[in-house]
């Protein structure tokens, strides 16, 4: 069986020792510094003792020097909630360097990073019927589950991104990462709806668009009967250099549209080529968008 996650992948993954940037103030205790002061071992500040403070936190050495009661404040470490949504429509199963494979690799990588950081990761598989969630747990052993889950994924059918995302419930603040090619007709409204909803649900929105080289720079010419592999629709197009130029500019417009909408709501938009190296994507693209640190 041709495994999607090979030895090489894990080797690269091991080299990545970074964290996802997510500022939290709520949530259960975890490995992530939150804005709140809490009970971790990491010192944060002093303040005068007030009635009701935990005696155990009084700094007796300070009391000896100043004869005043000071309480030591520590960073509260809370867990991050990461929702990684993978578009599993048929259109993702395309390209010499398969877009779906890249989506899975990115999802796996981000899961690994998050789990390593004691964050909670849930994987949402966006399918024709709705979102299929797996691994709501945390801890390193859950990574195995994630990998197994991702391995078994199949890209098929049509997916309505908006309706499937909107069906998801978010209880905590977190980061929602949507990995898709975002090839949606009349996409602007739909995308904005998705971003709006996620933002409303206190999600930091990250859109990762994966396109393959065949989509970005198609090298086709002449009259073709183009078939949409997802919808099976057909169109006869005489492809000329002029049309190719129009196509490329349209791709660029589409990217800009996605980027603008996501940015408008404080999110991040990352475009990824399916033939790119996962290491480069994680260490360069995500870093540049300050998703990692």
């Amino acid at each position: 069986m041709n495994r999607k996650f090979d030895k090489e992948f894990f080797k690269k993954l091991n080299n990545i020792s970074i964290k996802l940037n997510l500022k939290l103030s709520k949530g259960t205790q975890g490995g992530r510094k939150s804005k709140a002061r809490g009970t971790s071992v990491e010192f944060s500040d002093f303040r005068e003792y007030v009635h009701g403070d935990d005696f155990r936190r009084v700094d007796w050495n300070a009391y000896g020097r100043f004869e005043k009661l000071f309480v030591k404040l520590f960073m509260e470490e809370r867990e991050g909630n990461f929702s990684i949504f993978i578009d599993c429509s048929k259109s993702m199963d395309f390209g010499q360097f398969n877009k779906g494979n890249m989506a899975l690799k990115i999802a796996a990588s981000l899961s690994y990073i998050a789990i390593n950081n004691l964050d909670r990761v849930r994987i949402g598989v966006l399918k024709e019927g709705g979102t299929e969630l797996f691994n709501k747990s945390r801890g390193k052993e859950s990574f195995i589950k994630i990998i197994d889950g991702l391995e078994s994924l199949e890209f098929s059918g049509k997916t309505n991104l908006k309706s499937t995302i909107l069906k998801n419930r978010f209880t905590n603040i977190g980061m929602s990462i949507l990995i898709s090619d975002f090839l949606i007709s009349n996409g602007e409204e739909e995308i904005e709806e998705i971003v709006k909803y996620l933002t409303y649900k206190k999600q930091q929105v990250v859109f990762i668009q994966i396109l393959c080289e065949e989509e970005r720079n198609p090298e086709i010419m002449g009259t073709k009967n183009i078939i949409d592999m997802e919808t099976k629709e057909e169109a006869k197009v005489s492809i000329t250099p002029k049309i190719l130029k129009l196509y490329k500019s349209r791709i660029k417009e589409h990217e800009d549209m996605l980027k603008n909408i996501v940015k408008k709501y404080g999110g991040a938009f990352i475009k990824v080529n399916s033939e790119e190296d996962i290491e480069k994507i994680i260490l360069t693209d995500l870093f540049n968008h300050k998703l990692l640190g």
């Binding site: 007709s185 002449g222 183009i226 169109a235 197009v237 250099p241 349209r250």
Partner: protein, 595 residues
Amino acid sequence: MSFLNIWPLFFLVTIPFLILLYILKEKSEDLSVSSLIFWQEIYKTLEVNSPFEKLKKNIMLFLQILIALLIILALMNPFIRFFGKEYTDLIIVIDNSASMLGINKEENCIDRGKAIAKEYIESAANSTKISVITANKDVEVLVTASKNKDLVKDKIDSITKSLSPGDLNGSIKLVESMTKELKNYEVLFITDEELDIGDINGRIVYLDKNKSNISIDNIAHKIEDGKVSIISTITNRGNDDYSGDFYLYGEKELLEATSIKLKKGEEITLNFNIKDTDIDYLKGEISGKDAILEDNTFYHVMKNNDDKKVLFVSNKNVFLEKALSVVSKADVIKTNDISNISEKDRYNLYIFDGMLGEYMPQDGNILIVNPTENNLFGVLGEQAGGEAVVVSEDIPKYLQNMTFIASKIKKTEMPSWAKSLINIGDKSVLFLGKHNNQKIAVVNFDFHDTDLPLKAEFPMLIDYICEELIDRNIVNSNYIGGEDIKINGSSVYDELILTTPSGRVHTIENDSILKENLELGVYAIEDNNHSFNEMFSINFPSIEEGNIMEDTIEDLEARSNNKGSIKGMLNITPYIISLIMLFIIVEWVLYKKGY
């Protein structure tokens, strides 16, 4: 714009095929993509922009159709008339005299003239009626008022090189009479000699030749005391001085060679003496190349002097005997007994004087004097004579006024095949005709009964009669181009075999005149049994045709009424071909760009 060819329009049928091929090629292959959304959007945009975008989509097809149309157009040889009006009648007069064999660089004048004529015909409107005339010694109308350009061009192609002297002046009268009734005509004269066309609405195309020309005008010989004296005349007819060599060959063997120098217009006579008299022909040759190569060689046939055999059967007719002795080149054998004639013996002429036997020769010609009963014509006895006068114009002028008195004559019935030459009253006393391929002359009196032998004209009359009856050589020995070459074959020969200088062998009929496809050089004639062999030479008429014009062509054209180009058209085919090349390049570029 006019077209020279219409037939390429046939290729228009290829255009639908081209479109069909394009449609077939349009059968697109399937291509799976992740999403159609962008393609559909673009397609919609393009449809909004149609029909221009549709045109762009099919730009290769349009280019290919355009190229195909342009190729068809180029094949149609389109041209634009620049000046001159279209004439309803066009007469082309081509000088076909021997001088047109002259060359300029590599091409001779006649070929250039033909090419110019064809080009001019092509430029004429399709409705123009074209006539073509060639002129040398004779003026010949090849085509009269034809609108069929192909036919006219074929006729022009059929014009062969002529060795005949002459010029276009002889054609002017014909052209004048042809154009008398025409209002809208043009005459194109193509010549290499100066020409005055008077009031004829015409253009003269002068064909230039190389400026130097040297010619051998004559070679002659005389045999005396077993030696041959040869003279040759050579003239410099060009505009340059000449210095070179003259070679004299006996058949193919070089006999003499000498250097000669001739200034412009100078003539030289060379004398040679050779011992060998057994040479069929002499050949003179001048070294170097000039305008007319044909007159650099001269052939002179030395032989063909065989005497003709005449059998004279008479009972001592001294008058006739004496008269026959002066008949040139006749070997007269006399006998007084008709029974001496053997059927095996053959003579060119049989003369029966007062005696006719049962035997009548079946070959050779016959002169019967004072006839007796025979099976050729009836002899009805004798009758009284009178004054004899010449009644036929065939008799030479110097004999026309001859009269003589005959005391008695034979009463004969003149056969239908004969024609009377001399009459006494209405009775013919000398008639001549051809019967069963034999020429037969009959003198209806005895010379002793007349005063004719006393007349000065008597030997001349006998010589004339013999001249008519003796088949002399089949041809003369030496001819100049343009002279009639009459084949005077004896009645014995129906067909003769002629071998041309280039080695072509064909049969010719007796009594014919050689006219067409003549070559310069030595011809041989023989009969089927090879019983005789005669030669004759044809040489270039250098005296009439060898001179090179002193005036330059520019001078002549300036003096003539045509100062412009004769081609009143601009051939736009090269421009169309350039355009085709350009479109092919554009198509290549577009193809490379992926259209």
